[in-house]
Amino acid sequence: MSAIPHIGSIVAAYAVTAVVLGGTVAAVLLDRRSLRRTLERLEARAGRGRAGTPR
């Protein structure tokens, strides 16, 4: 028995909003971390390649 009518709909609406928008924020942050790591690895490899190349 709930004191507020349709409380389930209200809670579900806010929960969906929090999950979707929170998930979007997390996806952007995780993507950034993954790209930075890949970029650092590639730049280090490119640097080693240049250092090892006879001039």
Partner: protein, 257 residues
């Protein structure tokens, strides 16, 4: 604007602005949520009207994101600007997320108020078409590997799909719909101040959140193109005979770095 349109300048300036923008978004959303939950129940809808504090801003951002994407599509097709391509691609998943929130929260409001989760009403249907357009664009960006070609194909689809924007906005005026009309009239707002103020604060909060996520996603897109360029260079070094001829896509990536 010209200074910002350079990807290197954009990375430097956006890196400084982003933490402040994120903090401002969080603070505005916190104030909006507090005002929303402290507001009195609507005389007809009761507490269910509180769903409007997330539904209306999500609908507003879903349309705003598409307008931003259409402007970027013009920048891609007319000026072939690499930052316009990045901005265009970055907005697609964000627009899809906000359109999804709008559709689901609208359905959750519709069940207690209209007695059904869904009706094939002009406003609801045009918003569903907007969401499907976002999904189509998301698929298109991931289907074509070369970023320059993907951007041009996505730009054409974006501009064709932009015809849906005025339909979403004016559907409640053009057709006899179940969805309520605009709350803003020439004579002022039809909503009481106790509900209007939290609604406007939440709309500002959602706009700031969208701006934060869009800038962060554009930065990611610029990094992704640097990664791709380095991978192509590494592959070309391994196989000098099979060195790739420079295409406009590669030139675009070089301009981004």
């Amino acid at each position: 604007m010209y200074a910002l349109a350079n990807p290197a300048n954009f990375m430097r300036l956006s890196g400084r602005v982003l933490p402040w923008l994120a903090a401002l978004s969080a603070a505005t959303l916190a104030v909006g949520l507090y005002l929303g939950f402290a507001s009195p129940a609507d005389y007809q809808q009761g507490e269910t009207a509180k769903i409007m504090f997330v539904h209306v801003p999500a609908a507003w951002i879903a349309s705003l994101a598409y307008a931003a994407m259409a402007a970027s599509a013009l920048g891609t097709l007319v000026w072939r600007h690499p930052l316009a391509e990045a901005a265009q691609k970055a907005v697609v998943p964000l627009g899809a997320a906000f359109a999804f929130v709008c559709l689901v929260t609208g359905s959750l409001w519709g069940k207690p108020m209209w007695g059904t989760y869904w009706v094939w009403d002009a406003r609801l249907t045009s918003m569903l078409v907007l969401f499907i357009t976002y999904l189509g664009l998301l698929a298109l960006w991931h289907t074509i590997e070369e970023p320059g070609r993907a951007a041009r194909a996505a730009s054409v689809l974006t501009l064709v799909g932009a015809i849906n924007l005025p339909i979403v906005k004016f559907s409640v005026d053009w057709w006899n719909t179940l969805h309520q009309g605009s709350i803003f009239r020439m004579t002022g707002s039809t909503v009481d101040r106790s509900i209007l103020v939290p609604l406007l604060v939440m709309a500002v909060g959602f706009t700031l959140l969208f701006a934060t996520l869009h800038i962060a996603s554009i930065r990611n897109e610029i990094l992704r193109r640097r990664v791709r360029r380095l991978m192509l260079a590494a592959a070309a070094d391994r196989e000098p005979a099979a060195r790739l001829a420079p295409s406009d896509g590669l030139a675009t990536e070089a301009a981004l770095s």
